[in-house]
Symmetry: D2
Subunit: 339 residues, 4 copies
Amino acid sequence: MIIVLKPEATAENRDFVVDRLKSLGFQTHISEGEERTIIGAIGDERQLRDRPLSSLPGVEKVVPILKPYKLVSKDFKKTNSEISINGIKIGGKHTTVMAGPCSVENREMLFEIVDKIYDAGARVLRGGAFKPRTSPYSFQGLGEEGLKYLREAADSKGMLVVTELMDPRDIDLICKYADIIQIGARNMQNFRLLKEVGKSGHPVLLKRGMSATIKEFLMAAEYIASEGNLDIILCERGIRTFETETRNTLDLSAIPVIKNASHLPVVVDPSHGTGRRDCILPMAQAAIAAGADGLIIEVHPNPAEAMSDGDQSITPDEFATLMKRIKIISATLERHLEE
Amino acid sequence: MIIVLKPEATAENRDFVVDRLKSLGFQTHISEGEERTIIGAIGDERQLRDRPLSSLPGVEKVVPILKPYKLVSKDFKKTNSEISINGIKIGGKHTTVMAGPCSVENREMLFEIVDKIYDAGARVLRGGAFKPRTSPYSFQGLGEEGLKYLREAADSKGMLVVTELMDPRDIDLICKYADIIQIGARNMQNFRLLKEVGKSGHPVLLKRGMSATIKEFLMAAEYIASEGNLDIILCERGIRTFETETRNTLDLSAIPVIKNASHLPVVVDPSHGTGRRDCILPMAQAAIAAGADGLIIEVHPNPAEAMSDGDQSITPDEFATLMKRIKIISATLERHLEE
Amino acid sequence: MIIVLKPEATAENRDFVVDRLKSLGFQTHISEGEERTIIGAIGDERQLRDRPLSSLPGVEKVVPILKPYKLVSKDFKKTNSEISINGIKIGGKHTTVMAGPCSVENREMLFEIVDKIYDAGARVLRGGAFKPRTSPYSFQGLGEEGLKYLREAADSKGMLVVTELMDPRDIDLICKYADIIQIGARNMQNFRLLKEVGKSGHPVLLKRGMSATIKEFLMAAEYIASEGNLDIILCERGIRTFETETRNTLDLSAIPVIKNASHLPVVVDPSHGTGRRDCILPMAQAAIAAGADGLIIEVHPNPAEAMSDGDQSITPDEFATLMKRIKIISATLERHLEE
Amino acid sequence: MIIVLKPEATAENRDFVVDRLKSLGFQTHISEGEERTIIGAIGDERQLRDRPLSSLPGVEKVVPILKPYKLVSKDFKKTNSEISINGIKIGGKHTTVMAGPCSVENREMLFEIVDKIYDAGARVLRGGAFKPRTSPYSFQGLGEEGLKYLREAADSKGMLVVTELMDPRDIDLICKYADIIQIGARNMQNFRLLKEVGKSGHPVLLKRGMSATIKEFLMAAEYIASEGNLDIILCERGIRTFETETRNTLDLSAIPVIKNASHLPVVVDPSHGTGRRDCILPMAQAAIAAGADGLIIEVHPNPAEAMSDGDQSITPDEFATLMKRIKIISATLERHLEE
């Protein structure tokens, strides 16, 4: 950590900062420049994060040198992680596609979708049983019944289930039925929930918060990892910007940036990321071309009748077309569709 | 709700939309313009929010006419709400100031602060007992012990206690010690938590999410209200923008906008809203001048030693200066400091 | 255009709005809903854009129905435009790549780059002669000398030249040397400049402003088109968001959104769009996979020595690798590299 | 400037960076930490801004220590600047209010407004003669005729004139009629225009760009200052965020942040900053309470008839009310209305 002093800082100010750092167990290193004095703090700077150094007298700014996360970083592990769940792999050279309806509406519909998406190449079934809706007056999901249907439908094809955990009280229930626990964008910084899924040891799909920086996204993953669980799949799902033509702005450059900083696999959700049916196919293609390890896509047999998110779901036929394109683009990048 | 058809939409497309609306219980109204046909849906449009109308064939866009919230709107109640808790009032002509440390560090410190902030005019004591930190390696709060200290310290002066609820499992604990339950910015759309505090009937301080629009903010309040609890205080605490000089961008124009749309009181948090000690006094003044019903401010006897948020806390003396200014500006606007 | 009245609006308020609309030459259409009265204005709503209807007494909001742009829209021309300049095509089924140094530093360097990028498949040479720098203390470009070098180097291979116009006083100079006039992101709403390039009739590469919505981007194109010049190539180059890991957030979903709304070709600039060398290859691939008509890329023989933008330039060898990938992805989407 | 090396950087990488810095005239200072090696570059770091150091092999990141601006900073001049034009002062202890119509529509209207705003306390007349409109189909202003009216109307009361320069070709014309040249938000980084107004020596009102950081805003001012003109008034006018209830988000915390970093006066434009009539009074009050040196406000005798920006203009009567409040709040802060 570097502490930059104000031009008018006194020798007393400087010594006070140095003493403070020493009392916290750091070595210091002073460099008097032409316009500023800077003090380097040598030691584990993560210990200093919460110390209010920037409000000490004479301090102009505090510049961290290290990344705030550790276990999820490439410093900690140089090779890309590959997560294997019941023989299905995520990361490495595999392109893994998760698909399914926004919310589980009934048993028949789910089996119908599973038949089609499995044939097209999806290996993970997604679906919501508890639906947190922006409006208190909307359909809120089938609850445990929905979870059962997801499990049965996935088992009929040997697929995995991913579904969202929203309440720490539901963790046992979700772990009973799902192979991968989804932490939604709105809960990315729900630290209690992160700790619980960390302790559970269950694989986690962590969605990026709508206004989370990549650094904060990786810090949320670090929360899970710090409890001993490194089976984390990151999911880019769009960030909030001033643009209103799309529901969110899908930040595909997050893929190379994260790949550079972390060993964790990254998948992309073009359904929530754009909120527009006409953007899903091109953005799914683009995500894979940008180096994503997979996709998570909303598929509904009849989007116009969907009880939620119909405007951003595609049909099983459209999904099959998308998968053909994904297969070719993956091959171009020396990856292959996980089967 | 208005449905705008594409220029190339057929009569069949139009009739399909009309039939769909009728089957959902709406009357329709067709207007053929020079460049577009538009269909008006007459009925309670909140029922249509989740229907995927915009993906029906021939539809260009769907334009909602009504606000998505109801109970918290000025349509529902024309006069500004005034919430009274143990004789202390928030809203109406009262300027109510909440103050205290970011996190409760120990009993002595809390009593020391309470003495000083009460004298300066604060009537609500704030403080965190459970601290959700961005880093898993930081101080996480004193827990129930911290809640007890808050209660005792507040009682010594007849002040109210506001503290944050982060986990639905803690609701009874928080209600036992606090007069006002704070829902933090990160949980503004944690709908499970909103339902719980709605059912509890306890007064709520709802903070605006970092990337929440004012409409979403009011929808979150509607969630609480829809459970029968209208004792809601809204809190503007800064939104995330591209500017990095301040931790967030304090959106003071939210005050007149909310006052125009809702009857609920609005307070402002310049500590989290700016993240800079040197901005707290001017932005507190500005908030009151913009029409806020109060403030919530972090005060620490020795910010340089604070275990969290020291860089955005002010000293009791600085707080006293701030309160003098607030008193005069309130009077200019025909308000008075709640005492 | 739809005018929504407040619930408390009187019959007088309503009639005043109706009279105002009639006096402006519009027919009106009144619909009394359960909670609101709405007035439809039938006629060319572009005439109403600047009328302060929303501040008339009793008006709650004004909702435009039509898009504000016309000539550049798909309503005006249903098929995608293909622009042909000296036999080189942009748009349609062609993938056209523009490449070159950020700024022209000297003649030799330019000929060296041109040799290599032409062989790799670039057909348009980019380069800056006038460099508007954020800092007044930076290298400002070679001026006309730079333009001459660009022309000569491009001519040696039959390539086109694209370079930026920043000052209306330079338009003749730029037109003398360049085949395509670039309007930079900072000038996207410099309406004087837009008019000048519109009148010039010269093909234009219009870059999206850093904080411009897609609607505003298309309105800027409309400015040029309204002067009779439809040879416009749109360029997505990243928007400003809260994320700081990349210089801008490259908004690739703008590609399908624009393709849906406009007939103009769209190219992508991953160099400025990310500001990071390690993001250029993946984001170039992603842009083509998302449906872009081409790319514009900064290439420098020795980025570490570049006089500007070295941190976002790639080497001629890296460019050749990129072009191989682009060729395959284009083919997957039934496009071909323009040669 | 601090150069942080990657953990895997070799001694060769380190020496290469050091040699590069030395060849550029810098002294270096190496500190080997536990996890990273950092190199300090001692010398005028503004020289290094454009050097692509971060793309050198083994470099992880480059951290600037100094602010990129100099002449406009508090380091350069510790006391707040006070600009005096024909006896009217801006900055220091003066609260100076600029008011007038968005665009000059005719002579009578202007004289009518001037009478009223002068009586209310405005001392600078604002008004647009050239109107750059987002739509090419809108009213574009009266041109030189408008400038003449502005001058005459202002002279009738001894007021100053501020009006916008948009085209470098108009600079002599604008200087002939106006006392203060306005640089609009869209031109904040039009570096050619900045140079021209810098050379002119005329006082400048520089508006913050819609997506400009405070640092970029001050850099734009530095551009003007670097030509020898320090008569610069900064104007906060709202930034673009995701919030759509207001046209822009007025960033009042920019006031204390700028006051901390620069000696230049800062005024606020609540008309463009919010785009809503109902927000102008509260946000004007808030701006002064936050420490602004003045305001610039759109006033129109009949906003509902205005040819531009009617929705964000207030009437002369509303302006008079606003001025009364401003006077009291100024006094609270030991300032006084400039008369």
